[in-house]
């Protein structure tokens, strides 16, 4: 069991690729992405109901070694400032296999 930081990122569907590219640049090669989430936040309701993905969120879950968290969050924050979205960080244990 390896201690890691669990990140849970919600982002507009069209920007999801920016997030996974960002993760890649920070050497994080593991993530899970769920599509078609609806939600509400500072920019109002997002209904996940239309054709273009503009009203849909993607949820991206990833893990990060604690020591690399700060530099990742800095860039992530810049991206969320520009595009909206959300990121929660919590502690977790990764089941080594």
């Amino acid at each position: 069991m390896i201690p890691v930081k669990r990140l849970e990122i919600v982002i507009d569907a069209p920007h999801a690729e920016s997030i996974t590219r960002l993760l890649g640049r920070h050497g994080l090669s593991g993530w899970t992405q769920m599509r078609g989430a609806s939600g509400a936040g500072e920019r109002g309701r997002r209904l996940a109901d239309e054709i273009t993905g503009v009203s849909s969120n993607h949820v991206i879950v990833t893990t990060c070694p604690p020591e690399r968290l700060d530099e990742l969050l800095e860039e992530l924050r810049a991206l969320l400032v520009r595009h909206g979205g959300m990121c929660l960080v919590s502690d977790a244990l990764w089941l080594k296999h």
Partner: protein, 332 residues
């Protein structure tokens, strides 16, 4: 004014299903259509209208007089964003003004399709050229809108600037304008329709043509649900924008009818040209704008086009424009 024509348009299945969808949302029915179905239906419609248009283009051949409407369409689609931008920039800032401009410069494929089906019901002819015009009018408005915003100081979208991102920066602008999913499918189907001609169409028509109007009903039911859900966001954006989203189509339609008259379009094509100018995008533009102008607020431009301009055009606009065209073409 031809009230019978309006009533006639209101009493066709597609328009009634649109109304049913709006009613469902407004009455708080829990009727809903899964997003995957919505997307499947829209893929079908773009595929079908693209193929159909391509085949008609191939049949007509590329006459020189086909170029005129195409050029007119592209120019209109580039001018509208500039005008709208000028009108709204002070009040809403460059990013939102540019986004709304791009929305109204571009076109609504579903409004166009509803107008085609309206013409078919009346037995008025229309030509494949207009489908090509539709396909060409999707994108210029996006380019113009974003370029205006950039010139006004709105920063380009990029995410850290490492440059390896396929969809950021200036390169992404052209990409979003022409490689945007719906635009790409529509243009691709158009080209395939032209390449495979009558023979290809015969193979595909039992899927792409015959059930088309029925599918359109289900799709418009869904659009009604979706549009009505945006009414609240629209109310929050204020009376000015609500008014704006009704006046712009009327102004654009008037200008378009004038141009169509000058260029001597046949009545059917005149209606389609008018509808293209008067309609606003809610498929191609919003997605492209989210990527190229993330500063623009999607709860302004999306509800305007989806919850006001689209319903207006589909119910009242189309028969209204037709009445005007009938009148003008008769007198001329």
């Amino acid at each position: 004014m031809d009230l019978g024509l309006i009533a006639g348009n209101l009493l066709t299945p597609p328009v009634l299903f649109f109304a049913l969808g709006m009613a469902a949302t407004l009455l708080r029915s829990d009727l809903e259509i899964p997003q995957a179905v919505t997307r499947g239906l829209s893929l079908y419609l773009l595929f079908a209208i693209g193929m159909h248009g391509g085949v008609e283009l191939a049949a007509a051949g590329f006459a020189a007089d086909a170029l005129l409407p195409l050029a007119a369409g592209v120019v209109a689609s580039a001018l509208v964003p500039a005008i709208v931008f000028g009108l709204l920039k002070k009040r809403f800032g460059a990013a939102d003004a540019a986004a709304i401009g791009a929305t109204y410069g571009s076109i609504s494929a579903v409004t166009f399709i509803t107008a085609c089906s309206f013409l078919d019901d009346r037995g008025t002819a229309w030509s494949g050229t207009m489908v090509a015009a539709m396909a060409l009018m999707e994108s210029p408005a996006i380019l113009v809108g974003v370029l205006l915003a950039r010139r006004a100081g709105v920063r380009a979208s990029d995410d850290g600037g490492d440059g390896d991102g396929p969809r950021e920066g200036h390169g992404s602008l052209l990409r979003e304008a022409f490689l945007n999913g719906p635009v790409f499918l529509l243009l691709g189907s158009l080209v395939i329709g032209m390449l495979t001609g009558e023979k290809g169409w015969k193979a595909v028509a039992p899927f792409a043509y015959e059930p088309f109007k029925g599918v359109l009903c289900l799709f418009l039911l869904d659009m009604g649900l979706i549009a009505a859900r945006r009414l609240r966001a629209l109310r929050e954006s204020g009376a000015f924008l609500i008014g704006f989203s009704l006046i712009v189509p009327l102004v654009n339609a008037s200008l378009a009818i004038g141009v169509a008259r000058l260029l001597d379009f046949a009545p059917g094509d005149a209606l389609l040209f008018t509808v293209l100018c008067a309609s606003a995008s809610y498929i191609a533009v919003p997605a492209a704008i989210r990527l190229t102008l993330p500063q623009a607020n999607p709860s302004l431009f999306l509800p305007m086009s989806l919850a006001m301009t689209f319903p207006f055009n589909v119910t009242l606009g189309i028969p209204l424009y037709m009445t005007a065209i009938d009148l003008l073409w008769r007198t001329a």
